[in-house]
Every structure is written in structure tokens, then in C-alpha cells.
Amino acid sequence: MAHAPEPDPAASDLGEERPKWDNKAQYFLSCIGFAVGLGNIWRFPYLCQTYGGGAFLIPYVIALVFEGIPIFHVELAIGQRLRKGSVGVWTAVSPYLSGVGLSSVTLSLLISLYYNAIVAWVLWYLLNSFQHPLPWSSCPPDLNRTGFVEECQGSSAVSYFWYRQTLNIAADINDSGSIQWWLLLCLAASWAVVYMCVIRGIETTGKVIYFTALFPYLVLTIFVIRGLTLPGATKGLIYLFTPNMHILQNPQVWLDAATQIFFSLSLAFGGHIAFASYNAPRNDCQKDAVVIALVNSMTSLYASIAVFSVLGFKATNDHGHCLDRNILSLINEFDFPEQSISRDDYLAVLMHLNATWPKRVAQLPLKVCRLEDFLDKSASGPGLAFILFTEAVLHMPGAPVWAVLFFGMLFTLGLSTMFGSMEAVITPILDVGVLPRWVPKEALTGLVCLACFLFATCFTLQSGNYWLEIFDNVAASLNLLILAFLEVVGVAYVYGMKRFCDDIAWMTGRRPSPYWRLTWRVVSPLLLLTIFVAYLTLLSQKPLSYRAWNPKYELFPARQEKLYPGWVLAACTLLSLLPLLWVPGVALAQLLTRQRRTWRDRDACLDTDTS
């Protein structure tokens, strides 16, 4: 049987031996840390709740089995076999495909830019959590000190702290405003921390990953235990996990499940390829892929339990306060003794009073308090972390402790994902050998981190948050889908399924089963294509708009829907197209070089013939 030759280790890294993991645990934790990120905490629970609770798990598991795990296995296997970063790997698969590697590097760079800006925000909140009372617990008084600041009064103390005291957000994307110095400091600190951990590649990240990958699990466990003991937690959990099967008829659910799995595993960044390239050649990457993907999904579920028990507590709390405010209005109006109406009696008393004094009751500012309305208030992304959760933490006894734990967890989650993104950029640069040999690795990582920091300062402007949303929605999603498609097709058809199966048999000791071959050949590429087309159609249907925080808006505190101006749309198109240009660009360049070589050889032959 044809046996793939063992790859020559000495040929890879500039004549020196390629660095390797100290032990398997470091590699495992690095991959898990890279895959488990902020999305597991603030995207998955939101999707679960929006799409019918337990029912969402069905499309999620299907997407995991037919798309997530196969592509993940391809990345690990190809990195481990060819022992190079993404650029080297795709050049080895086919010189025409090396553009895929370059696109991965560009994308990882772009994503690191805005991802670390989010980590900087988390750091800001973490630094502000070391005080009691927490700064977002109350509105600051206005200049006369007769009341609170108007903007804060109109929205809430938590929103005011996020939009005004943290971001100092502009009302429109056109006015960039000035750089917020406190955010700049936090950004510098987060890039300094990233540099400190990535300075010598996996040698340093391998040591730090023990903390950054395991600390979130510790905190999640603490939150699960604490959350489940909070009053109202069970209501939140029941609301979350009650399956609503009818929602599965909506195609949007399947699309979101597939994209969630894809982005959750951090595929097509090149980070997993880089990590796997430092492995021992004979390592069971198949088992690794399955285990890491399952751990990632389990973490999402575990996080949802923690998040929703806390949000259920918050909803119950808010519902109780709503009732209390109504009761107070009634007591004050009719001069009843204090605490004479309990929350349970409220409705009966209200009906009685409405019958006897309808006019007086009508002029009271009574709100309808339904628990379901409060449970429905969910959010994803920064809204969950910086508004909903911060408010929930305020009501828990010992609020600063919980705030520190929560933001510490988010910080380490973000950091471990940053390690993967940085490795995805640095490993290919080192492998390609662009820099001369005397340039130490520390200098290269320092240069990359410094450049990223300087570019990311645009996110500390007053319109920075709007730009970050653009990066998040446009730069990342579509490009990664296309790259993953090219990866699977490149390995399955260009590299050759037989050759790939031989490699895996050599590395793991057994040939891949028909499930793998079928998914690599047919199912995953088809799924990716469908998702891509569906994504494009959805994007083109509604005009690109953003929601601005404008205190002068009539419906404030609701966010104002505004359309993107022309130049922003042009920037969006550039952002989404430029990274992918490497693929056709490099393929074309390769074609031309080959053509020129064949012409030169032909001319040389003709010359020798004639001479």
C-alpha cells in the first residue's frame, strides 16, 4: 500500500528545529481557548432563547456534525501533516492555492484589530469593578445637583455608563470625534498583555494558556452555582429551554445555527493549522477534532445555564420592582399605610380601586408588569455583557466580587482567542522566511502587536463602536465562509482524497471512515455554499443600516435607525473584498510565472536546436 513518507522536520524552520508543545495538554488547551471565546457567552444563549430554546439544539447539532467537525478535522490534519502555518500549508497543497493562506493571514489580522478592542472594553469594566458602589449603579448628579444628568435619567444608569462614560459615543458615524484617552490606555494595556504572552510564540503562550483557558471554566462554575441559588433563576432557565418546535420551519434558524457553529470553532483563521503544525507528527488529530468541538459546544451550553439563571433572576427582580413602583403610586395617591398592599394582593386591590375611583387611578403612571416581558428582554453581543449582565450583577449581594469575576472571565476568554489569531499571523510569517535570520522572534511579534495597536486606535474614537460593528458584520463573516469552502475543496479535490486519507492513516493509525470522506467531499462544501448564498441574499434584501445612540432622538432611549453614508459603504465593500483578492491574485501570478518559464524553456530549446 502506498505509504506517505515521513515529512522532513529539519527542512521546516530556518534550519532550526521547529518549536513544539511541552505536552499534549498545552496544545489541547490552546485549541480549546482559541475556539471558546466571547461568542460562547454572549451569542449562543441569545440564539438559544430567540429560536425556541431547546429546539435550537437540533439544527445546532446537525450543523456541528456535518459542517463543524469535518472542517475542523481538515484544518488540524493538514497543519499537523505539512507542519507549516497556513501560507506554507496551502502553498504545499498547490502553488495556485497559496492565496488562501495569505487571505487567512489578512483576515486574522483584521479580526485581531477589532477583537482586541472589545477586550480593551472588557478590561475597562474590569478595572472599574474594584470599587463599591460600582460606578454604573447610579446616575451622576447634574450641575445644579438637583437631579440626575438628563441623558442618564432618560435611559438608565447602566446604559449611561456604557454609552457615555465608556464609549462617549457620537450620535452619527460621520462625526468621528476625538480619541477617548481612557480607552486608548486600556487598548495599549491589552496589546501589551497580548505581546507579553505571545512574545516567543507557543513557548510563552503554552505557559499562560493553563490560566487563560481554565479560569473561565472556574468562573462559569461559580456563576452556575450562584445563579441557580438566586430567586427567579429557575424561571429564566425554564423559559430558555422550553422547546418551541414550530420555529424550526423558519430557514433563518438553520442559517444562524450553521454560522454560529462555524464562527464558534474559529475556522478558516489559520490558527488551528498553526497550532497543529507544532504537534508531534504522529498524533491522533481525529480524536482531537471531535473532542475539542464537543468541548466547545458543551461550554456554550454550560454558559447558557449560567447566563440565563442570572438573567432570570434579573427579570424576576425587575418584575418585583415594577410591581413595587405601582404599589407605591397607589399608596401615595390614596394615603394607605405603608406596606399595606403586598405584591400578591396588588391586582385585586387595583381592580377594587379602579371600580371605586376610576378617575384618580387613571391619572397614575401605572405600568403593566408581566414577567414574560422582562424575560423576553434579551440581548447578544456587547449589549448582553455591558448592559444586561452589569445590571443583574448590581442586584446580587457582593456586587463588586461578581463583577470582577465576570469581567475577568471575559478578559481571559478574549485573550486566549487572541493568542490563536496572533499565532495565525506570526507562524506563516516565520515559515515563509520574509524576515532575515538575525531578526529575533520577539522583534517580529513586537512589530505585529505595535502595528495592530496603532491601527486599532480608530476604535477608540467616538464613532469607534459603529466601525467595530461594521468590521464584525462585514469583514469577518462572508470571507471566512469562502475561505473555509476553498479549504475543504482544496484538500478534498486538489490535494487528493486518497493522499489525504493515507496521511491521516499514517498519523492516527486508521483510515478515515466513510462519514469523513462523504462530508469532506460533498456535504460540507454544499452546506458552506448554501450558507454563503443565503447570507448574501439576506444581506442584499435589507439596506445596510445601523442603530445610533442619539440623546436628541424623540424616541430616546430607543436607538435611532440610520443608513450608512456612501463612503462608509465603499469602505465596507473594500473590507469585504480586499482580503479575498489574494486568492485570484496569487493564482494569476503563479499562472503567469509558469507561462513565462515555459516560454523561456521553449526559447532556450529553440536556441540550442538552432545553434
Binding site: F130, T146, C186, A188, V193, I199, E338, E442
Partner: protein, 222 residues
């Protein structure tokens, strides 16, 4: 006749102090909310204390130093506990302007709160906004202190890592030259020793000749 006068006076007083009267203020107390089990009952003695506090506040206003407790009138006490009050002038025929009363109460709100163990939320003077406490701004915000500590630690760690990296690289550059020196020495000794390579003998130490004995043979199997 005296009874008639008495009724007349109380009637006038009643007219001066009425819900919604000119220069009258409504006060609302939430004693049970503030103190829970330690709540005291609101009786006439407490009302007397209240009148005393209002009179005290008015005495702090210039030109009103002669205000007496009897000039403060309370009416419409409900179970809530809420009531209305007015402050009359020494002739007890007119009420003092609301602006003066308002300023006086605002200046001394803390003392009034303290007398009843309440705060601005549980002792409300409707229509008199309380001055909010200034925000507790320490001279250096806490976050900057913690930021400074973390940043310094990170910079020190980076410097140490870079320095250790430079040291490692220097050691690696020195090693090939040291190995070359050792080989030269060995070659010199070789030429002295008739060309017999001394390296293998030196490394083995001369005790065990590995060509003839393995580890297993030393242990006799049972």
C-alpha cells in the same frame, strides 16, 4: 366669648393649613421602609419634633429668627404617614412665602433627616427638591491605580522576557565556538597519542565496556 375666639382662631388656622393651600407643603414619610422592625409609631410627640425642626430651619433664615414652634401648623395627617404644613408669621394671620420655607428646608435637610433616622428618599417634601450628595470622587480614580499596577507588571515582564531571550541567543552563539575548541584540544591529544582517538574512551570512563555487557545481563533472572 372665649370659646368663640378659640373657635375663630382654630378656624383661621384651619384655613391657613389646608391641602393645596398657598405656601403649604405636603410631607410624606416612609418610616417602615427605612427602619423595618425598628420603625417607631407616628404620634403627636413626633409631630411636635417635626414642628421643632421646621421652626429651627426657619430660624436660620435671616429676618426669621423669631419663629416659634407654635407658628408651624400641621394638618391632614394620614395613615400613610403624610401631612401638610405651613409656617405662619408671628401674627399668625399670614403664611410665610413658600420660597423662604423652601430655602430653609433645603439648607437643613440633613439635620431634619437625621432627627428622624430617615433619608431623602424616605422623608419627602413634595415640591422641595433635595440637593443630591456630591459624587464621591477620589482625587485619583481607582481604575487608574489598578491600571498603573497592571501595566507596570506587564512592562517588567516583557523586559525580562526580552532580556532572557537575548541572553539565550548569546549563549547559543557561544556554544558552537566552544565545541570547536574542545575538538581542537582532542585532536592535539590524538596527535600526541599516536593517532588513537581519545574521545570514546573519555566519555565511557573506562569502567564498563558496553560492547560486551547490557543492563539485563547484570540481573540474573529467577
Amino acid at each position: 366669648m372665649l370659646w368663640l375666639l378659640f373657635f375663630l382662631v382654630t378656624a383661621i388656622h384651619a384655613e391657613l393649613c389646608q391641602p393645596g393651600a398657598a405656601n403649604a407643603f405636603k410631607v410624606r414619610l416612609s418610616i417602615r421602609t427605612a427602619l423595618g422592625d425598628k420603625a417607631y409609631a407616628w404620634d403627636t410627640s413626633e409631630e411636635y419634633l417635626f414642628k421643632a425642626m421646621v421652626a429651627f430651619s426657619m430660624r436660620k433664615v435671616p429676618n426669621r429668627e423669631a419663629t416659634e414652634i407654635s407658628h408651624v401648623l400641621l394638618c391632614n395627617v394620614t395613615q400613610r404617614v403624610s401631612f401638610w404644613f405651613v409656617v405662619t408669621d408671628p401674627s399668625k394671620n399670614h403664611t410665610l412665602p413658600a420660597v423662604e420655607v423652601q430655602t430653609a428646608i433645603r439648607m437643613n435637610k440633613n439635620r431634619i433627616n437625621g432627627a428622624f433616622f430617615l433619608n431623602d428618599q424616605t422623608l419627602e417634601f413634595l415640591k422641595i427638591p433635595s440637593t443630591l450628595a456630591p459624587p464621591m470622587d477620589p482625587s485619583v480614580p481607582i481604575w487608574i491605580i489598578i491600571f498603573g499596577v497592571i501595566f507596570c507588571i506587564v512592562i517588567v515582564a516583557i523586559t525580562l522576557l526580552i532580556l532572557s531571550g537575548i541572553r539565550q541567543r548569546r549563549r547559543k552563539n557561544k556554544e558552537p565556538s566552544e565545541v570547536d575548541d574542545a575538538e581542537d584540544k582532542c585532536e592535539n591529544m590524538n596527535t600526541i597519542e599516536n593517532g588513537i582517538p581519545c574521545d570514546p574512551l573519555d566519555m565511557k570512563g573506562g569502567h564498563i565496556n558496553d560492547a560486551f555487557m547490557t543492563e539485563d545481563e547484570r540481573l540474573t533472572p529467577l
